[in-house]
Symmetry: C2
Subunit: 274 residues, 2 copies
Amino acid sequence: MRDTPQTWFDKSLEILTYNRNQMVWSILVTIFGDLARRPGDQISGALLSRLTDPMGIKPEAMRVALHRLRNDGWITSERQGRTSRYSLTPHGLTESDAASPRIYAESSAAPDASWHLLIGEPASAAQRGEADKLWRGRGYIVVGPGTYLGRGAPPSESANFLVMSAPPAHVPNWLRNKIGTPDLAAAYRALEDALDRALPLLQNAPHMTPIEAAILRVVIVHNWRRALLAHPDLPEMVFPENWRGTACRKKVMEALAILPRPSPEMLEKAVNTA
Amino acid sequence: MRDTPQTWFDKSLEILTYNRNQMVWSILVTIFGDLARRPGDQISGALLSRLTDPMGIKPEAMRVALHRLRNDGWITSERQGRTSRYSLTPHGLTESDAASPRIYAESSAAPDASWHLLIGEPASAAQRGEADKLWRGRGYIVVGPGTYLGRGAPPSESANFLVMSAPPAHVPNWLRNKIGTPDLAAAYRALEDALDRALPLLQNAPHMTPIEAAILRVVIVHNWRRALLAHPDLPEMVFPENWRGTACRKKVMEALAILPRPSPEMLEKAVNTA
């Protein structure tokens, strides 16, 4: 479609698709979550291909991923003549809505939020492992076996815990490195580096089609979402020194402001007239 | 010395020496700590015998205990003609002084005191065992391995700990029972029961010699001190329900007010004129 190689768009896309190990179904979750999160929003198979093809996703891989997301109850499809139209299920809409405030917030978790710590009765490693998993799933930091640090007010079911209601007075390095693991720190550094290189290209783009904006939004939001949702929503004070999470958010928001979100209707029209 | 059995004093002493498993050296620590804690105070061997004989302590057991306390650097002795005079060493004075505010305070630890919790990096059981012992020695509650609850402000050496500075918002039963163990709860119940029976006898004592007051003080303070110093100084909120520590303190102080502390000089005089 673009015969002149290395336009601003090609360069930006190449920079922003630095991570080639991504699951196609997960990229589709980002596409629907970013571009079709209003009830009633639909994306045609043709549009999906138009968005994912420049990312290097093969049609067969996309078919498998669509099948998986349909089986998982995340998306549903509707045939109209020769084309299929896909949309988030109520479940997919709810989950996407739940994640979006964190993904699109202009600033990270406030440092002055209230906190609480729960300490359970010493128990066997097996019992603790199960409990640790449960509380981690609720967004808690597992400080050590049976010890959970969370934001806000303590939950009602805390009768069996020693409960301390206060923000941490000091967060030691070993805990910071447990919360912001080296892998996670590297993911943010890689995203920041890509944005540092792509932002000047986006800022100086001579012209931008809705499809181009949509593709670049998706690859940015996807990398951002994957790093962000790998850890609980926590203020900077609990992360290691030189943590780039907050810097990344600022640059992601800067990029998204240059890449306004097109409506599914605009995108379908662009596909049909191409 | 008392030929008429079961005077008010005999009955009181019988009631208050309910615990027959006590170490003689430990009783001597109580005697010096209660009756001869001012620098320069001395107690003669004759007075020690006069105080311990009614408690059922044999002369040979007392000699062994005196030897031990001298070896431990707790007491020192001085020969004057045929009698030895014993006194606390500077070390014994310092230790006795350090314990006395807690022993003689009119009220238990205040519930609104400040608290802090320290959580160390997960470590091996052996490393944790050593650290747990160290912090327990500093008056901390070992909530679990590597997790220490203490009163007041956090110590300066807490860089390697997650620090929460707040009073516990909730203390679960498993922790209350760990702090106030069943043995400790039973020790307080036994002391309270003895005081409930002895107090009316003390209140109605027709006449009281300095020696009688000294002996009864010692047996009361000894049982009290042994229970009290077996756990850190903590407010009632961390102890199990029906904890009798605070009730015991009230009754101990009530008894001690009826048994004014005689000076060593008064006691020596009483021994010499007996």
